[in-house]
Amino acid sequence: MSRPEQLAPPEVFYNEDESQKYTASTRVQHIQAKMTFRALELLNLSPTEHFILDIGCGSGLSGEILTEEGYQWVGMDISPSMLAVALNREVEGDLFLSDMGTGIPFRPGTFDAAISISAIQWLCNADTANNDPKTRLKRFFNTLYGSLKRGGKFVAQFYPANDEQLTSITSAAKVAGFGGGVVIDDQDSKKNKKYYLVLTAGQAENQVNLNGVDMKGTERPGKKLTRKQKKDEETKKTYIMRKKELNRRRGKHVANDSKFTGRTRRPKF
């Protein structure tokens, strides 16, 4: 199966047809919701942090979860068709037609945090003659850094095509001033393996939640968790389950339960 990034530029790939198909698929809905919850878990926001940017927001599947969690959000996307679907679904966030590779159009210190679900790998594409991935990654991370408040955080689930892309993404983030790394969930499963870029713009009051993630050590896939780490994760999970149960009872759309065990993560920079 070829990657969408190899087929056409994003605004062409996500045309009217594909945008509708994408959004209507319950499989897609579940997996995007699950990854959004995981991104929020990694972000570990304090209860007072509310203003969030969703980069590559598409039709609002990720944004709807931000609304459920009580956040105000702004979404940006390059595909008019995806945004049209978002409009029709009456999502609560503000929608911007905007290319992340040309810069984040917000003044310094605007957002508490930013998320991006399944989008930033598109920055590695050279679709047109003047799309230089290196320049675009640089512009993206520099302006994103600026638009976050000091201590602001960014978590992006993404699909790197290869190690080279992984490296160009993390090094552009680092050059822009971000600290952090890449968390890999389900490393041993070819199908479920997921990459999360987890970044902080300056010192955060509430650190990102890297429970069980060893940022400095080398890869230790079979590493046993300490009792304390196990306990931390237990409580986090129980907490999420409780919240999801609450939302279910309120009749809201809630993602299926899953097992985000704190397994196998790999340090990056």
Binding site: H50, Q72, S98, P105, R107, G109, T110, K149
Partner: protein, 129 residues
């Protein structure tokens, strides 16, 4: 686009990066609607710190509202019932007032960004990237 967002959005063209005139954008020929949305006093009290009140006044003026208080309300405790009316007014202005059609002009480079069906278009023509 919510009125709130006008207090944060700026011209993304790189030669305007360091210009003080690239924010706030100037709003022209705008159509507005009021949309009823959930009242969240904590969010409002929290975002208040971050608001640039001069820009709020400038943009409200662009949109035909010249009756805002000249200084920003400070230290607003969302739990204090005395603040409820103030926060409700802020909610009406910032969250429920939305621009559905219109133009945003950059004061530095003059570029015009259009808002259509509530969505501002920030795609840049290749020569401005």
């Amino acid at each position: 686009m919510k009125f709130l967002t006008t207090n944060f959005v700026r011209c993304p063209i790189s030669k305007c990066d360091n210009s003080l005139k690239a924010f706030p954008l100037q709003y022209k020929n705008c159509e507005l609607i009021q949309e009823e949305l959930e009242f969240n006093p904590e969010f409002l009290a929290n975002i208040l710190d971050r608001l640039n009140w001069e820009a709020i006044i400038a943009v409200a003026g662009d949109l035909g509202n010249d009756s805002l208080p000249p200084t920003k309300p400070e230290n607003v405790d969302p739990k204090d019932p005395e603040n409820e009316q103030l926060l409700k007014d802020l909610h009406t202005l910032l969250i429920e007032t939305q621009i559905t059609e219109g133009e945003m002009h950059c004061g530095e480079c003059g570029h015009i960004y259009y808002i259509k069906s509530s969505i501002p278009n920030f795609l840049l023509p290749p020569h401005l990237v």
